[in-house]
Amino acid sequence: MEAGGPVFRSLESRVEEVDEAEAWVRQFAAGQGFDESDQYFIGLAVREVVVNAIKHGNRFDLSKKVGLTLGGAPGELVVEVSDEGEGFLLEEVPDAQVAENLERRSGRGLLLARRIMDAISVHALEPAGTRVRLVKRVAAPGADRDQM
């Protein structure tokens, strides 16, 4: 995270928190210079990671929190989502795009986050939990937005 800018919120492990978290991220992204279309997709990416943290990480356990940190230099957004769950490895998440998984009902949240954001990384926390870090940079003028 860039010095002097990160802001943090602690979320309850319930789905009702997700809409507000998404709205907050969109608003922050606007302040970082992202246009409305980027805000829309960034909101979706963060929504998916927050839902995963609540659902698969903390398993809706209200004694556990989800941390959401927003920061980044102008023209950039750095998002960190942390949970208190058992953790996972990004490379072990099934590929939702292979033929045998296309008709599965779940497993697309992280895929969307990866497709939308410029970078995503997963870090194990001690003594428990996971932190997912997402980075998005404002596209240069004339860049092909379909390559999001």
């Binding site: 279309s37 829309y40 979706l44 296309l102 009902r105 697309r108 969307l112 497709r115 939308i116």
Partner: protein
């Protein structure tokens, strides 16, 4: 925008569910699945989901669309998505599900496509 759902059936075996608002994790997804299951139970084996007024969906909603498609297919029918907005289409393409969920320019095109195979649905 709150989620709303309207249903129309014309006796031809093709039903249209018109969805409005945002489609995200929650009870609206259960309502959608229940409606599709009810239609297939009534031998409405051509099902169109009109998404022209859906501005946003998440991966939970995509999973529900896949589930609806599986339900209709299992009953021997077909499901199509009509009027998908550019942004929603992009979300579907990002996940690759546009390969298994047929997309049409609008609901009328979906209905026409299903009626064209009425003998099969």
């Amino acid at each position: 925008m709150p989620f709303e759902m309207a249903r129309s059936e014309d006796g031809s075996g093709v039903a249209v569910l018109t969805l409005t608002g945002t489609l995200t994790m929650g009870s609206q997804l259960e309502r959608l699945e229940a409606s599709v299951a009810e239609l297939t139970g009534k031998s409405q084996l051509g099902v169109v989901l009109d998404l022209s007024q859906v501005s946003y969906l998440d991966s939970s909603a995509i999973g529900t669309l896949i589930g609806c498609n599986n339900t209709v297919k299992k009953a021997g029918g077909r499901l199509r998505l009509g009027g998908v907005t550019e942004r929603v289409k992009r979300i579907l393409e990002m996940t690759g599900v546009d390969a298994v969920l047929p997309l049409d320019a609008d609901a009328n095109a979906s209905v026409a496509a299903l009626r064209a195979v009425t003998g099969e649905v």
